[in-house]
Every structure is written in structure tokens, then in C-alpha cells.
């Protein structure tokens, strides 16, 4: 399991500190407020602003 339920409970967007949704295909974590998507690479969530992109 790449990103555990426990980890998802404490991970937030590094900018707005809002909750994140795991994308259905498991490729990233999307902020419920700013819509930034943080990629998951090699099972590691990349929670860096410079590596996120805003998705509708």
C-alpha cells in the first residue's frame, strides 16, 4: 500500500493546509481547496509546491 489511510489522515496541502484526496488512479494527492495535485512517485508523495500543478 503506497499511501496508507493513517498517512492520508495527517497529510495536508503544504500551502493551504487543507485536506487532500487521493486521485482514483493513485497518481497523486489533490488539495480540496486550491486544486493543486501533488504527484506520488515511487510510492513517495511529493509534497513540494514547485512540483505540484493545478487541476480542474
Amino acid at each position: 500500500m503506497a499511501v496508507s489511510k493513517e498517512l492520508l489522515e495527517i497529510l495536508v496541502c503544504p500551502i493551504c493546509k487543507a485536506a487532500l484526496d487521493l486521485k482514483p488512479d493513485g497518481s497523486g494527492l489533490k488539495c480540496v481547496e486550491c486544486r493543486r495535485v501533488y504527484p506520488i512517485r515511487d510510492d513517495i508523495p511529493v509534497m513540494l509546491v514547485d512540483e505540484a500543478r493545478i487541476e480542474d
Binding site: L11, C13, P14, I44, M47, V49
Partner: protein, 259 residues
């Protein structure tokens, strides 16, 4: 801003990263362990975990350790270290110290060892550590430091550090650290200078920073011409084989979030 980001520096250096370098300051690890008051139920965050040396050392004492770093290549090293140690209670994420991707009150302890000199804003890091700690949780920091009230030593040391590694921002004094933690709302429990038993040699130190050629020659010249107060403070000693031995000043602190 530093001339090179920590992400660039450590992605570049990770393949050569030598585990023996972590032996340079085992004393600060022992100090942090002694002051952390770990419980088996605790969840810890290790900020700028790098190759995971500190995170792996704490993992057997607690329920879980989360390690964050800006360098994906260093996190791969950390995961290898956790696997080799047979530990399953470590998780790693890419994240920056000044904007931590964690909910408020998520951790019982925040660790940061030998890394804060790379942070663009240690004050922001300390404020973020305060936010993610539960009330009563502890911040534990160890880092290279400058002596208080010694501007010449401070200037010389930070100059050679930046020449050797462009992602070095600066080493702070004990007074500055006291300010960072108390300004953020922490109650400082202990702040000590931590002696080092193993001296560093200039060749190994330059290698660790990936510093070679003209920059390395300039650092070497600066060591040989170091101000007398810097020679005393860091015990800078030329050796018969042409290398130079020295000991940096390290400080460690423990601070508690009230509540």
C-alpha cells in the same frame, strides 16, 4: 537565497553519500534521544531526514517515524536504510521544512538533526514544527552553530561553508536559536553545546559537499589562513599528510509546546 537549492545539492550528492559521515556527530544523536522522552505510542516527524540516519535510529523507540526531505534521491537512501534495518514503521515524503504538509497537532515530536543550516527560514521551520506538534509535544534540533559574540569566527565559518556547498544558508548561534523557539511559542527545556569526539578532516568534508577544483583550493587556503580565533574555536590543526583536522561547534536543543 542560497546559490544552489538543497534539492539540487542533495539530489546530486546522494549517490556518493557515505554512511560513515553520520558518525561525525553521534553525540548530537545521543543528546536528542536523551531529551526526547519517547514513548512507544509516539509518532515522530524527522524534518530534512536526508539519508534517514536519525529517523532510523528513533524508529525502534516509537510507533512511527515520518521523514520528510526536499531531495527524492536522499529519500531513496533513507528507504534503503529503513529496509536494511528491518524496520516497517517509517514512512517518507518529499516536503519542505518551511511549509510542512501535515495537519496541526499530528506529531508527538519533531526532530531535525544537522540540517537547519540549509533552511531558507529557520523561524518558519520552527513555527511549522509548533503547528504540527500536539500540545505537550517536543521539538528537538541539533545543528552546526557559531559561538555567540564572535562575528569574525561566524563570518569565516559561514564563508567556507557556502564555498564548499552552495546550498548552505547559515549556521546560527545559540542565542539566535533561543529566539527562534521562544518567538514561536515554545518553552525551551535545554540548549547545550554538544562536543564532538571524532574530528573531521578537510578532504572528507569537501568530498561530502561535492566540492572540488578551484572552490576546494580556495576553502583549503581559507583554512590555512583562518583567523586565530577560528583556529582556536574549531581546533583547526594541519596534519603531517597535508590534510587538515577540525571540529565544528554543534548545539542541540529541546523545546516543548505548552499544553
Amino acid at each position: 537565497m542560497p546559490s544552489r537549492t538543497s534539492q539540487e545539492q542533495f539530489d546530486r550528492q546522494a549517490p556518493q553519500y557515505n554512511a560513515e559521515w553520520n558518525e561525525w556527530n553521534r553525540e548530537s544523536l545521543a543528546w536528542l534521544m536523551e531529551h526526547a522522552h519517547c514513548q512507544p505510542s509516539h509518532r515522530l516527524l524527522d524534518v530534512a531526514t536526508g539519508a534517514g540516519f536519525t529517523a532510523v535510529a528513533f524508529a525502534p523507540l516509537v510507533a512511527e517515524v515520518t521523514g520528510v526531505d526536499v531531495s527524492a534521491a536522499m529519500l531513496e537512501k533513507a528507504r534503503e536504510r529503513a529496509r536494511a534495518a528491518g524496520l516497517a514503521n517509517l514512512v517518507f515524503e518529499s516536503g519542505a521544512a518551511e511549509s510542512l504538509p501535515f495537519a496541526a497537532d499530528a506529531f508527538d515530536g519533531v526532530l531535525c538533526r544537522l540540517a537547519a543550516h540549509h533552511f531558507v527560514s529557520p523561524a518558519k521551520f520552527v513555527a511549522e514544527a509548533y503547528r504540527v506538534l500536539r500540545p505537550g509535544g517536543r521539538l528537538l534540533v541539533a545543528d552546526s552553530a557559531e559561538p555567540d559574540d564572535a562575528p569574525e569566527v561566524d563570518a569565516w565559518h559561514n564563508h567556507v561553508e557556502v564555498l564548499r556547498d552552495g546550498s548552505h544558508v547559515r549556521n546560527y548561534t545559540a542565542s539566535q536559536w533561543r529566539g527562534f523557539v521562544t518567538d514561536a511559542g515554545f518553552a525551551l527545556e535545554a540548549l547545550d553545546e554538544v562536543p564532538e569526539s571524532v574530528p573531521i578532516t578537510l578532504r572528507a568534508w569537501l568530498e561530502k559537499g561535492g566540492c572540488s577544483g578551484e572552490a576546494a583550493a580556495e576553502v583549503r587556503r581559507l583554512f590555512l589562513e583562518a583567523p586565530a580565533e577560528a583556529v582556536r574555536t574549531f581546533a583547526i590543526t594541519p596534519m603531517p599528510d597535508g590534510d587538515i583536522r577540525f571540529q565544528w561547534v554543534r548545539i542541540a536543543l529541546a523545546a516543548r509546546k505548552p499544553g
